[in-house]
């Protein structure tokens, strides 16, 4: 697992991220409902977690020693579902029933419906605390698994995250890694306008966290940051991943307008083309 990042592997992980984006687009276009912007911004992070760093076994989903992943910004569900399909955990046919009555792929991840989901998320501000409970559980159960939690930057408006930041430090949970998807846009507009977060790094530092700021679309930087966090057994670690909301589709980038809007047919084809669609599907 800890092998070095060869150019081949880097390319492979990027290709996975690209596929995730195309699947996300397709799902949301078909359902005419879902969150494009925040699913695109996490594609590389999700790729590196599922296809390189997380200890999971598609043939043994309930493995007690598996790493846990908590996508606390549950509206990035399409990106997670795409990864689960590529991983062979969810049947590809399920994607066409995303958000549809009777389908398993709920608008937000549901652990009791979707195989491979460790905890349901969707309502913002819970995942960090839940992940902390899991990390504490690992210690009590004498397991060495890691817990990864993916937070939206808008989600950090929720005060409960800062309760969890305090408690993780108190409980000395170094098997928990927080990744902040810092795309700087939330539903109603820029984070800086809706509820300013800066100085964000200093906030985490003030809670006794070790921080690393990276380019959240750079496979190498993501992978190295995750390994840095895993290796740090003295402090809780947070990775601030600078990302672009809507990354990959020019007209969707850096705007809140594509937070939760589905594309029409014309927009779908334009977006698919920009995402390199129809090349290797």
């Amino acid at each position: 697992m800890a092998e070095t990042l060869t150019p081949e592997k880097r390319e492979y992980l990027q290709k996975i991220a690209d596929k995730i984006r195309r699947n996300v687009l397709e799902m949301i276009y078909k359902a005419q409902s879902g969150h494009l912007g925040g699913s695109f911004s996490v594609a590389e992070i999700v790729s590196v977690l599922y296809f390189s760093e997380m200890r999971i076994d598609p043939d043994n989903l309930d493995w007690p020693d598996r790493d846990r992943f908590v996508p606390s910004k549950g509206h990035c569900a399409p990106a997670i579902y795409a990864a689960l399909v590529l991983k062979g955990i969810v049947e590809p046919e399920a994607l066409s029933d995303f958000r549809q009555t009777g389908g398993i792929l709920q608008g937000h991840p549901c652990m009791n419906k979707v195989p491979g989901i460790d905890i349901s998320t969707g309502s913002l501000g819970h995942g960090f605390s839940v992940a902390m409970g899991m990390a504490l559980g690992a210690r009590l159960k004498k397991k060495d698994f890691n817990v990864y939690v993916l937070l939206g930057d808008g989600e950090l408006n929720e005060g409960q995250n800062w309760e969890a930041a305090m408690a993780t430090d108190k409980l000395f949970l170094t098997n928990l890694t927080v990744i902040v998807d810092r795309n700087r846009v939330q539903l109603d507009g820029p984070t800086k306008k809706i509820m300013p977060l800066e100085p964000l790094v200093e906030k985490w530092k003030a809670f006794n966290w070790k921080t690393k700021t990276i380019d959240g679309h750079n496979i190498k930087e993501i992978l190295e940051a995750i390994r840095w966090a895993k290796a740090n057994l003295r402090d809780p670690s947070v990775i601030i991943a600078n990302t672009i909301k809507g990354k990959g589709v020019s007209f969707m980038e850096n705007t809140h307008e594509w937070h939760g809007k589905p594309p029409n047919q014309e927009e779908y084809w334009r977006a698919l083309k920009e995402l390199g669609g129809q090349e290797d599907e």
Binding site: R68, L136, E163, A167
Partner: protein
């Protein structure tokens, strides 16, 4: 007069005993361990006790995480904080995921009487009852509390247990067995049924005694589980006694009275009166005085009993 024993002391001791037998029991508290009496567990098992400070929301979600990896968390705080401050955490993380979290609402009802309405908990049952997957139980005395601690730990799934802060009359003996979803007939009678949950059992029994002196024979059905409600037992007393009074230390909206009305509405309806807090916030004061002032006196129960009896007679005459 039955012996008075502290319910929270009993809870603290029972939790400690449970911890000795089951290494998966973990206890979470939010800076009220000396009040909830989880302090006994904390002292004996410091590695399995977590004080979250004043962070009820964070604590509740952390419990969900702990349960998801196979532990059995008992989450402790005041009842109103557990069910309202951390309500959405219960909904989104505990109930929706159907996780094995035991939520202990201490200081239920008006029992934190002197602290006033800010600390009293009179709609916790309504909130918890409306949430899918969660079972709702209310302790009556120190013995039942002890039995419930064992009982709820052995049942897989989320459960809300409401406790009283104070010393309350003991009714049950060590032979009592708590069965989730089962109501208990504690007194026989055929004129009407007093249906009661929680610590108002003492007042309910006194009311039944007094009514008996006037020739009115009450059956007393004690309901420790509000959800799943024992529909069978309620239907049976409705059929056999034809009139009911519910008695609870809770807003008359959404608690036991509502649960019983729901059952009667779809089975065998009968005249029903609901004793409880008449949809108001209470105030600071002596516990028993508050129970009297806010509609839960022995006389209130007696009045309600006579009222349903009268309506029962009227409905019979109309047949």
């Amino acid at each position: 007069m039955n012996k008075l024993v502290s319910m929270r002391e009993s809870y603290g001791e029972a939790l400690l005993e449970l911890g000795k037998d089951n290494p998966d029991i973990v206890v979470l508290d939010s800076d009220v361990a000396h009040s909830t009496k989880t302090i006994y567990f904390a002292k004996q098992f410091p590695d399995r006790f977590f004080n979250f400070g004043i962070q009820e929301a964070n604590m509740m979600d952390a419990a969900a995480g702990l349960a998801s990896v196979g532990l059995i968390p008992f989450v402790n705080t005041f009842s109103f904080l557990a069910t309202l401050r951390a309500c959405e955490q219960i909904r989104s993380s505990v109930a929706y995921n159907n996780l094995n979290v035991k939520i202990i609402g201490s200081y239920g009802g008006l029992s934190d009487s002197y602290d006033g309405a800010s600390h009293q908990s009179v709609f916790d049952l309504a909130v918890m009852r409306s949430m899918p997957n969660i079972s709702v139980v209310v302790a009556t005395d120190a013995i039942e509390t002890k039995k419930m601690v064992r009982g709820i730990a052995s049942i897989q799934g989320p459960i809300y247990l409401r406790l009283c802060r104070n010393e309350v009359a003991v009714f049950f003996d060590e032979d009592y067995e708590f069965v989730l979803g089962k109501a208990n007939v504690l007194r026989q009678g055929s004129d009407l049924t007093l249906v009661v949950t929680g610590i108002l059992l003492e007042r309910t029994m006194s009311a039944a005694d007094e009514l008996a002196r006037e020739g009115i024979e009450c059956r007393v059905l004690q309901v420790p589980t509000l959800k799943p409600i024992d529909s069978e037992a309620i239907t049976k007393v409705s059929e056999e006694t034809g009139a009911l009074v519910t008695v609870e230390e809770h807003n008359i909206i959404g608690g036991l009275g509502s649960a019983v009305a729901e059952v009667l509405g779809s089975s065998i309806p009968a005249p029903l009166e609901r004793i409880g807090i008449p949809d108001v916030f209470a105030e600071s004061g002596d516990y028993n005085q508050l129970l009297d002032k806010y509609g839960m006196s022995c006389q209130d129960i007696i009045r309600a009993a006579k009222l349903v009896l009268k309506r029962k007679g009227m409905s019979k005459n109309n047949r």
